[in-house]
């Protein structure tokens, strides 16, 4: 896998089908390749599957929540996974949650419903494109 393709691989953990499809479409148009995990456990299982440039996490997911995935990620023995950029995309936009996300090293927090164009801009900024 060359460096160019590594920088465009995004892991999206999202159980809401319509959001997952919209994010995937929009980021796909921007040249990213999006792999969708339908629950938190699937996201954890996919962390080591390939090098990701970004993880987009929903909070309210079945099996494992976004918080649990984030903890696994931040405590991961592999530095490349531990230090992955994370964008939280969630309907929960309370002050407490935003503060928690910042403490756990979340680079960006977007509240649902989101503007797909804004999401694309934020993602490009996060991966330095």
């Amino acid at each position: 896998m060359n460096e160019e393709s590594v920088t465009k691989e995004i892991l999206l953990a999202e159980d809401e089908e319509h959001i997952a499809k919209l994010v995937s479409f929009k980021l796909g148009k921007e040249g990213f390749s999006v792999t969708i995990a339908r629950n938190g456990q699937e996201a954890v299982d996919l962390l080591e599957a390939k090098p990701w440039c970004l993880v987009i996490l929903d909070i309210m997911m079945p099996i494992k929540t976004g918080w649990e995935v984030l903890r696994v990620l931040r405590e991961h023995p592999k530095e490349s996974i531990k230090e992955l950029s994370v964008l939280m995309l969630t309907a929960k936009g309370l002050h407490k949650e935003v503060a928690n996300a910042a403490e756990l090293g979340v680079q960006q927090y977007l509240k649902k419903p989101f503007d797909p164009n804004e999401l694309a801009q934020v993602v490009k900024k996060l991966v330095n494109l």
Binding site: E16, H18, I19, K21, K29, A91, K112, P113, F114, N117
Partner: protein
């Protein structure tokens, strides 16, 4: 602002979403039937109802229905505040009818702005704003 007609795939995504709103209407109709059968407002029914409005709240605006998100977000917060437990059973049926009306409009591709003028929604909206801005004890 997304131009949903600019790409066939995007257009299909929106059509699928609108179809999903029709399915939500069917789920909501089931909740209303339960409400009528139980003749009371139970935690289980409230939970099912909140699940429906929460799902819509998190998606509608992204698909071009900001008013639908405004309506369902306020209701989602209202459920979170447990204020619904104090609602009379008939009021909850009226809330369900209001959401159904909004979904009927959205199912035809229109954002249900008109429902935001509904007196019941105005009452709920004020209650939510008051509760969220009240100092925590």
């Amino acid at each position: 602002m997304i131009d949903w007609d600019s790409d066939p795939e995007l257009k299909k995504l929106k059509e699928d979403y609108v179809n999903s709103l029709r399915q939500r209407r069917e789920v909501l109709a089931g909740i209303v039937n339960q409400l009528k059968a139980e003749s009371k407002n139970t935690p289980e029914i409230r939970e099912s109802f909140q699940f429906v409005v929460h799902k819509i709240a998190g998606t509608a605006e992204s698909y071009g229905f900001p008013a639908l998100t405004e309506l369902t977000s306020a209701l989602d917060d209202y459920f979170d505040l447990s204020a619904v437990a104090e609602l009379q059973h008939t009021d909850l049926v009226n809330v369900a009818s209001m959401v159904d009306k909004a979904l009927e409009i959205a199912s035809n591709g229109e954002d249900p702005v008109v429902v935001l003028n509904d007196n019941l929604f105005q009452k709920i909206s004020v209650a939510v704003e008051r509760a969220l801005s009240a100092p925590k004890t």
